[in-house]
Structure formats: C-alpha cells, structure tokens
C-alpha cells in the first residue's frame, strides 16, 4: 500500500518540477487516477479543510509540503490529553449515526426501544469495568461534567449541616475550580498538599476530616505525573468517618484495576476519550447503597436518575460502552505492553542523557505516563525542536500558558525543573519504533540545547549553581 502512495506523490511532484505550475484539473485527474486504483469504493476529495493555502495544493500530500510547513503527521505520544478513537469503537458507533437514530427516551416506538437497548448494554459494559451495577452509572458529557456534578452536587445537597470539602493540590482544574466556586458559596475547602512523590499523606487526610466534612475528592491517577493515589485506604478512611469519597478516574479507568466496592468509592468520574472512545461523552458512578444524593446542576427532563437532564447521545454512549468493553478485554495485553514500552523509553533516555529527573514516584505510577525533567534545558524550547513528535510539557488545559505546572510545583519541584519537563503519554497504539524515534530526537535536542547553555558549561566545570549569587542585592 505505501508503494501506491509513493507513486502518487512522485507523479505529482515530477509533474510540478517539469511544468512549474500545473493546471488544477490536470493535477487532480492524475491524483485521482492513481488513487482509484486502490480506493475504488470511496474517493472523497482529500482534506480541503486541513491545510491552509490554495485549494489545488491542498489536494495532495506532496503538494502540501510546499504550501504549509507541516509535511507529515507527527507521531503521537500524548495519550494523557486524548487518545485515538479505536476502529472497533467507531465501528460500533456507526449504526447509531446512520440507521438507528432513535431517541433512547422514546418509549412509544421501535426507534426508541432500539436505542434504549443499546444504551443499556453500554451502561452494563461501563459498570462491569469498575465493578459497579448498571443502575449506578449516569452518562454525562465527560469527566469535567462528572467532576462538577460530584463536587458541587454532593456538597450542595448536604450543605445544611455539612459545609466542608477536602481535595488535593494536584487535582485537575475542573475539581479545583468547582471547589473555588463552593468557597464563593460559603463552603470551606481544604487543599491537601502532596508529598514529593506526588502521593497524599494519609495522616494529614485523617486530620483534615471534620464532623462537618461532606466530601473528599482525590484523583485516582494524576494526569501530569501519573502517580496512583492509595484509593482503597482513602475509601476505608472516608467510610469510617461517614464522608463521601469522590475520585476523578479519567486517567485511571481501564488502565489500573478499579473496583468501586472493594475501594469503597462513592462517586467516580469516567471520560470516554481517554480510553480510545469518542469525545463528548463520560460517565459518573454514583453509589446507591449507601445512597449518595446529588443536587443536579442542569435542570430539564429528568433523564439519568434526575442527575443529568438532557437526551442521552446514543451513538456516543454506545462508543463509550464499547471502549469500556475493549478496555476490560484488553487490560492485561495493553498493560503489559505499555509497561514494556515505558521501561524502554526511560531506560534508553537514562542511558544516553544525564541529569534527567523522573517526576512522581515511578513505583506508584501508571507506566503509560512518563514525566521527565531535563535539567538545564527549557521544556518549551525542546518542544519547538520536536515538531514531528506530539508531546506536551504538562496538561493540555494549561499548555497554552508558559506558567510552570502547578502539579510539579506541588510536588516540590524547583522552578527550573518545573520549566524543563516533558510528558510522554504511551497508549495502546504506540509502537517500539515510535519510542526509539522519540528517544533519538529527544537526546539530540537535549544535547543541542545543553551545548548552547552557559549553565550547562558551569555544571560541567563542577560549579554548584545554587552557590552562585546572581544579583548584587
């Protein structure tokens, strides 16, 4: 197959070289003639929207090299921000985007029943993955909404005699911002610090719990450094103090073992697009026995146990259900592979680079999230040099700002190390070749940037940078 692609490319570029600017029609007919050989059934015009520049140029990969700087799609190593939609998931969704378009809440006709049956099957699959019952799953638009409903909903419902909420400093923004909102509503919030390995101190949590505490919200797997919090211990502590325990498991579900009954979790947030499902769908697990009551944020038709009104998007829900089914089925296979690739990445980088610090406790972290700080190198400059690798220096939500990550600050990373971090996200579709390529490129960039850095020279000469007084005053 790649051979066909090459010939298309060469053909059009050779025409261009020969004749300079080629008439659009001639160019297109050449391309389509070559394309139709392999793609008889579906010959869609290729991506006019993808590449800015002239329409004719955007029609081929070869021509697009000229019109835009991007030649090829970079390899993807950012599984924490989002993941590819698994073809199996997409395949399960398609019937519900074409033929089976019914509203799952229509009780009077076949279209509704068909969609409802599919939604309920998906609910079963989601529940099975976390050891819950189907009735306890509520579909939402994503983990952000699930977190909002959990934190605000539970706190507000029990607000008459309980006005205190506990969370951690390394939570995702949506939990932290929900807590800020609660503070504005006269709730008290305790933001627990974490230890330097990224894990909370159980004694501090126990001391923070008060008689008027209604909720403890601690994320399962951190989105930036991948550390896994001791869910079972927290769950047991909360249950013994009769406090509800919410966990944001967007990065954890399908990747680490989660059992809501064993871990005594009362509320749990799930995201679709972190587990190879579609974007725009998530789920909330809300325990029925002992029952967690929530004040809904969105008012409406009372769907989803009155917790989340609004028509359930059947195609997306089917996608989430299928993604959860596959996640359960492939847990061992994917887990072993991701561990292997993660070790390969860390070992190779450590073998070729010095002064590399792994953020977060590697023994208590999900291996698919590797956060490394390259000392004396600025993270953003490195990303600029790694244009053909899709990486991030932290969470996608804050990647637009140049502020160092608050998660790294919370684990006590020095300012300079927080600025020099890169997060490698390994997923189901990552290959050995991609890891090797990424390592080579990273090492190359680190060496290049360190050679330019005066700080690196001083370190090589054995000067302790901390001993230097940079300013006169």
């Amino acid at each position: 197959m790649p051979k066909d692609k090459c010939s298309t490319k060469n053909m059009s570029s050779s025409i261009q070289m020969k004749y300079g600017i080629v008439p659009v029609r001639q160019l297109l007919s050449t391309i389509y003639a070559a394309k139709n050989v392999q793609n008889k059934v579906l010959s869609l015009p290729h991506h006019h929207y993808k590449i800015s520049g002239s329409r004719s140029a955007s029609s081929t990969a070869a021509a697009s090299e000229k019109s835009s700087g991007m030649q090829f799609r970079p390899l993807y190593l950012d599984a924490q921000s989002t993941t590819q939609l698994d073809p199996r998931v997409f395949d399960a969704m398609l019937p519900f985007m074409t033929e089976n378009f019914g509203n799952p809440h229509s009780r009077t006709h076949f279209y509704g029943w068909e969609a409802e049956a599919a939604v309920e099957e998906a609910r079963e699959n989601v529940a099975k993955l976390i050891g819950a019952e189907a009735k306890e799953i509520v579909f939402t638009s994503g983990a952000t909404e699930s977190n909002n409903i959990s934190v605000k909903g539970a706190a507000r419902f029990y607000s008459r005699d309980k006005k205190h909420v506990i969370t951690t400093q390394t939570e995702h923004k949506c939990v932290l911002d929900s807590c800020r909102q609660l503070e504005a509503e006269n709730f008290e919030v305790t933001y627990l610090p974490v230890k330097s390995n990224g894990i909370i101190d159980m004694n501090e949590l126990e001391q923070a719990i008060r008689p008027d505490t209604s909720l403890v919200s601690v994320m399962a797997v951190n989105n930036e450094i991948g550390v896994i919090q001791p869910l079972q211990e927290i769950g047991e502590l909360c249950r013994s103090h009769k406090v509800f325990f919410h966990t944001d498991a967007a990065q954890a579900v399908g990747k680490i073992d989660i059992d809501v009954n064993k871990m005594k979790i009362d509320l749990l947030s799930i995201s679709g697009h972190k587990i190879y499902g579609p974007k725009g769908i998530g789920a909330l697990y809300a325990r029925r026995r002992p029952r967690v009551r929530l004040e809904p944020i969105q008012s409406g038709g009372g769907q989803e146990r009155n917790i989340r009104s609004g028509t359930v998007p059947a195609p997306l829900v089917v996608g989430l259900g299928e993604a959860c089914r596959i996640a359960l089925q492939e847990k061992e296979y994917d887990g072993a592979r991701i561990k292997e690739l993660s070790d390969r990445l860390v070992n190779k980088i450590n073998a070729q680079c010095t002064h590399v610090i792994r953020n977060g406790d590697p023994d208590r972290a999900y291996p698919g999230c590797v956060n490394l700080s390259f000392a004396y190198v600025e993270g953003e400059s490195m990303l600029m040099g790694l244009k053909d690798i899709a990486l991030s220096s932290g969470s996608a939500c804050t990647s637009a700002s140049l502020e160092p990550s608050y998660v790294l600050r919370a684990i006590g990373a020095e300012e300079d190390l927080a600025h020099s971090s890169l997060r490698f996200g390994i997923g189901r579709f990552t290959t050995e070749a991609e890891i090797d390529y990424a390592v080579d490129k990273c090492v190359e960039q680190v060496n290049r940037l360190r050679e330019m850095s005066p700080l690196w020279d001083m370190v090589q000469e054995g000067i302790d940078l901390k001993s230097i007084q940079w300013t006169q005053h």
Partner: protein
C-alpha cells in the same frame, strides 16, 4: 469442529486486511494484535471456545474491512511511514 484450513485462511485475511490501513498506528496494532491473539489460542481444543473465537475473528474481519475503507478515506502520511520508507524496512 472448525477446520484448520478455515482458521488459517481467517488469519491471513485478517493480516491482509490490517496491512491495508494507511494509518501507521492502526496498521501496526492490527497486525500485532492478530498475531498475538492467534499465537495465544494456537493450541485451543475446546470446541465451544474455538467456535466463539472463530466468530470473534469473523466479526473483526468484517469490522476491519469497513474501518480500513473509512480510515483510508481521511488518512495522511505520518512521520513513521516516512521513516519506514527511508530505511526500506517493510512495515510489518
């Protein structure tokens, strides 16, 4: 009882279909996953288990045929495709 020839033909059909993905990651995953799944279940003797595995493979083959067509309609060349064409390593 499922015949050996039929299982082998399914295996080859799955690999052939998977290798048609333009998307590097999907192509590699399909090939790797197919090989590993057949390797693990190579010595399965339980007829009901065999039947369900064959049914799963048939379902996956139909899924692949649809998804290869859909995926390739929107595909671009990736960095890894380029790497492989440079080093002349076959993309397997």
């Amino acid at each position: 009882m499922v015949s050996r020839i039929y299982v082998l033909s399914l295996y080859h059909k799955l690999l052939r279909e998977g290798s048609k993905f333009h998307n590097y990651n999907f192509r590699e995953y399909t090939l790797r996953r197919t090989r590993d799944a057949f390797k693990v279940n190579k010595s399965e003797t339980d007829p009901t288990k065999m039947k369900s595995l064959v049914e799963e493979a048939e379902k996956n083959l139909a899924m692949l045929q649809r998804q290869v067509m859909l995926g390739n309609a929107f595909s671009h060349e990736s960095v890894m495709n380029r790497e492989f064409s440079k080093t002349k390593t076959p993309p397997t």
